[in-house]
Symmetry: C2
Subunit: 247 residues, 2 copies
Amino acid sequence: MSSKNRAVDPGEEEFLSQYRPEEYASISITVDAIVVGVAKDITDNYRKLDRQSLKILLVKRDNYPYKGSYSLPGGFVGEKETFEDTLKRVLSIKTGLSDIYSEQLYTFGSVERDPRMRIVSCAYISLVDISRTNITGAEWFAVEEIPKMDLAFDHNQIVEEALKRLRGKIDYTDIVFHMMPVEFTISELQEVYELILGKKLLPAAFRRTISDKLEDTGKMTSNAGHRPSRIFRYKMPSGGLDDYESQ
Amino acid sequence: MSSKNRAVDPGEEEFLSQYRPEEYASISITVDAIVVGVAKDITDNYRKLDRQSLKILLVKRDNYPYKGSYSLPGGFVGEKETFEDTLKRVLSIKTGLSDIYSEQLYTFGSVERDPRMRIVSCAYISLVDISRTNITGAEWFAVEEIPKMDLAFDHNQIVEEALKRLRGKIDYTDIVFHMMPVEFTISELQEVYELILGKKLLPAAFRRTISDKLEDTGKMTSNAGHRPSRIFRYKMPSGGLDDYESQ
DNA sequence: AACTGTTCTTTGACAAATACAATTAAAGAA
DNA sequence: TTCTTTAATTGTATTTGTCAAAGAACAGTT
């Protein structure tokens, strides 16, 4: 789209043939992925509660630097590779994931963030429905645990920023549904909202605001020990996906 | 903050001393600035209208590639330079601006965007009050004109994304006020909103929603040919700046 | 001095969205 | 049957948003 098929004058052709890339300061770029999902935790066996919690995928580094520490899955951007290609490659190799929703978060470029050399990280947020994934090589960690861990590089800070972004976008986009299973109850959905926003919501208000995005499946939960709930699925808005989501 | 003062084991020290940065794929990074402001256009001398319009700063390239084309002010990130440092340097040299509000927009990394080599652009949006600037080396262009121009590289696309971001953030942040003079009328402010959103707003509704962000100066306009308007200034919210604005 | 055109500013009526308390519904468990 | 738990609804008050219409102040014109 950008520089292909444009008119190049002879002077520019001359210039380009003389251009020596190696003479210029060069910086390596990595793509790091913050893969976020929700999963049920069996926190209390006596009362058979299955509260959900927000989870992020981390990998254990088996090379220097930060050998043995956990870090976000990531890898170097090849010279002929777009960020999205790097992201796909990295996700596939380090987590086994493919075809998941991702968007660019922020580019972290402080000079000392990597002890090896100047390495800039272009971070992507990916949202997945954990129940449909099969992870290999990485582990899920609850977001509450992560501030207590000492992640490699500036990855603690990157995770922080990712959660801020999620909080900021949850209200005016439909991104949450990338983390939901195909079918879910309104209470389950509300719990995910509460996890991301970090506060309780009123059931009646939540139900009212969210219900035009939902479609009744006709099914109900059962064996829950209380009144069954209606099961819904996400109803794609008529005008296609939200403008804020495409990028 | 990130990798300073951390415990480095002897194995890591050994590893780092052997590390050869030149062996890795390297990519150059530029920072490009989308400097946005509003200014009055004398569009119609007969009726003495002074409508405002959204403006962006562009510079004429006097080097290959795209010699003679207009582009966003930008420059290469030095090996020991943060993006913010590069941005400051570039803004100062190419536009004469200093100390203006800026935030990272997006990082553009398609492989063919620069004919010289692989160059990634980390784009920043900067918002200024044009009335308080003194530009040297760059020119203001109305945003309506820019799609008709053929900017260097993928800068047309970058400008598009910047405007999208502005539209998305204007409603839930106070960033517009970075583009406003210290004192202004509600109609002037509304016009800026309308320029960014690309649609008309209802004066009564706008007035009601915006007025808790404003503080009356007690002054009034005069000689306007119609009822004078009250002059306001921005009232900083009690809790400091909005969370979305930081960094 | 009165009239006119302009647009800033305010009002009030109405609709829609939201907040919150209180109630009803439907299970399983004791 | 009764109790417990969570689902779902209802109703009311409050806030917020939409919209039309009227009033206010000034410059220019008659």
